[in-house]
Amino acid sequence: MISRNLILGGVLSGLFAVLAVLSFVWTPFDVETLSIPDRMLRPSGTHWLGTDQLGRDIFSMLMVGARTSLAVALASVVIGMGVGVPLGLTAAARRDGLLDDVIMRGNDLIFAFPSILIAILFTALVGPSVWNAILAIGIFNIPVFARLSRGAALSLWSREYIMAARVAGKGAARISAEHILPNIANLLIVQGTIQFSVGILVEAALSYVGLGAQPPLPSWGRMLADAQTLISLAPHMALFPGLAIVLSVLGLNLMGDGLRDVFDPKLKRGRAR
């Protein structure tokens, strides 16, 4: 059941991944070379998407910016999953116990801190850097994955095949690894793509207000911040980084939806009715 969503989403996300990887070895122009005479050029055959206020090639900057955006978003999903999933599985295995309570209250607590506030606290402490953005988004992702995996695991824990595994003498950790995790992996992958896309959006916002990637590291959010004051003069400077964000986020979300359809045939049937 490969849907149109999945193909379109895969192609879009794949395109940005390829551009990001390609930027390590090749970009049309060097992004660190300034060329004031060429500043704010409109899109042309030479500069496909034009140049910025310092004469840098926007397409090249978008390629390198893709690297930042994707890396930050990916790293924060890894943090969120790496910490959140074990927490969620533990809470489910110890359901209604003290540990479950502590983990869930901890989750509620993190939910009270939007990423931007975490980033603000870190930045106040150690100054702005891309690591703040990764940590802030990553921490925000922890309760997302913890809740999701706890909820999904709880409904599995009452299944009879888990009872059968317990009767076979298996402990909670082994059951979580052998039975629970493989059966919630689909959900986690779908949520992972969605959090990936959220990560791109939040990273852009943090960079935009100066709490994320710092110069000279190009990032989509910072490009937008630079473009803002010049938007009447050079709208293309604001247009293309924004479109890059929209398309990559859209691609990931479509891919998430497509994967959900593949993994959950029940929803598919529901739609057919």
């Binding site: 939007p114 931007i116 506030l117 603000i120 606290l121 896309s197 916002a205 935009y208 938007i231 398309l247």
Partner: protein, 310 residues
């Protein structure tokens, strides 16, 4: 029961959150006074600041002084502005909070009808159109969308001012100044909410009690109005609660696009000037706002769902 338990957890969350913030700001840097003044500070200046901030007292007593101050409206004094933080926050909070609430209202007003239409026309053209549009809406960064709103409505059409805030003395003007930012904030959230509304409604339409209602002679539309909508509100409320926190965060960011004198601009200036006291108290205030709104949404659950009214 539900109310009491929620209230308890609200207080607990606030206490733990305040301890966390206190630790990050006042314990982790080692000596906050030296940290705030930077490397080249005169030792006498650092000592003076230490005295002014009350840093000579023990950690625990400092925490209680700060937390007690929060309860009585005393947020400490800003080092850079040399005025009480409460005074700084006072005006600005009435930009950020109304903006977030305004956006929440807009998001709900937009999302409900289109989510309901999509659910009722499931699988038809209207559904596909709405789902496609919301998919796009989710992907648009609100601050980028806001820039183009400014270009179109403020610079080209000159319908509204490009930025700034006239104050609440003239409520209409104030609301006008907040309208573009609220629209920019609301659009992505409305897209999310509409999708949640649609799927919640579709789920409830598959429930057994909907079949029971149909067997009584209720039409499909009657079932949606009489039974499905209210049940679908339960997951929708959860999302609305979460959205407030996103919208408040978004408000802080989008203030930059519109040059609104809100908490966001205060915070970013404070960070640049290493004014930790302002950061500490403002972040705490924002966390409080999130927690309180989450609590209110939880209370709304109890109104919708009798199973929680015990």
């Amino acid at each position: 029961m539900h109310v009491a338990r929620r209230l308890l957890s609200l207080v607990l969350t606030l206490v733990v959150a305040s301890v966390l913030i206190f630790c990050v700001i006042e314990v982790l840097p080692g000596d906050p006074a030296a940290f705030m003044l930077g490397m080249n500070a005169q030792p006498e200046a650092v000592d003076a600041l230490r005295a002014q901030m009350g840093l000579d007292a023990g950690l625990v007593s400092r925490y209680f002084t700060w937390a007690g101050g929060l309860l009585t409206g005393d947020f400490g004094a800003s080092y850079t502005y040399r005025v009480p933080v409460a005074e700084l926050i006072g005006d600005r909070v009435w930009v950020s909070l109304p903006l977030a609430l305004y956006a929440l209202l807009l998001s709900t007003i937009i999302a409900f009808p289109i989510g309901i239409i999509a659910a009722m026309r499931r699988g038809k053209a209207a559904d596909y159109g709405i789902m496609g549009a919301t998919q796009l809406g989710i992907a648009i960064p609100n601050f980028w969308f806001a820039m183009f709103l400014v270009v179109i409505f403020a610079i080209n059409l000159r319908w509204v001012r490009a930025g700034g805030f006239p104050g609440w003395e003239d409520p209409l003007a104030a609301i006008g100044a907040l309208t573009l930012p609220a629209i920019a904030l609301a659009l992505p959230q409305a897209s999310i909410l509409a999708r949640i509304m649609r799927s919640a409604l579709i789920d409830t339409l598959d429930e057994d009690y909907v079949r029971t209602a149909r067997a009584k002679g209720l039409s499909q539309g009657g079932v949606v109005r009489g039974h499905a909508l209210r049940n679908a509100m339960i997951p929708v409320l959860t999302i609305i609660g979460l959205q407030f926190s996103f919208l408040l965060a978004g408000a802080i960011i989008i203030e930059n696009v519109f040059y609104l004198p809100g908490l966001g601009r205060l915070l970013f200036q404070a960070i640049n000037q290493r004014d930790l006291i302002v950061v500490e108290s403002t972040v705490m205030l924002l966390v409080m706002a999130v927690v309180v709104v989450t609590f209110l949404v939880d209370m709304a659950y109890a109104i919708v769902d009798p199973r929680l009214r015990r």
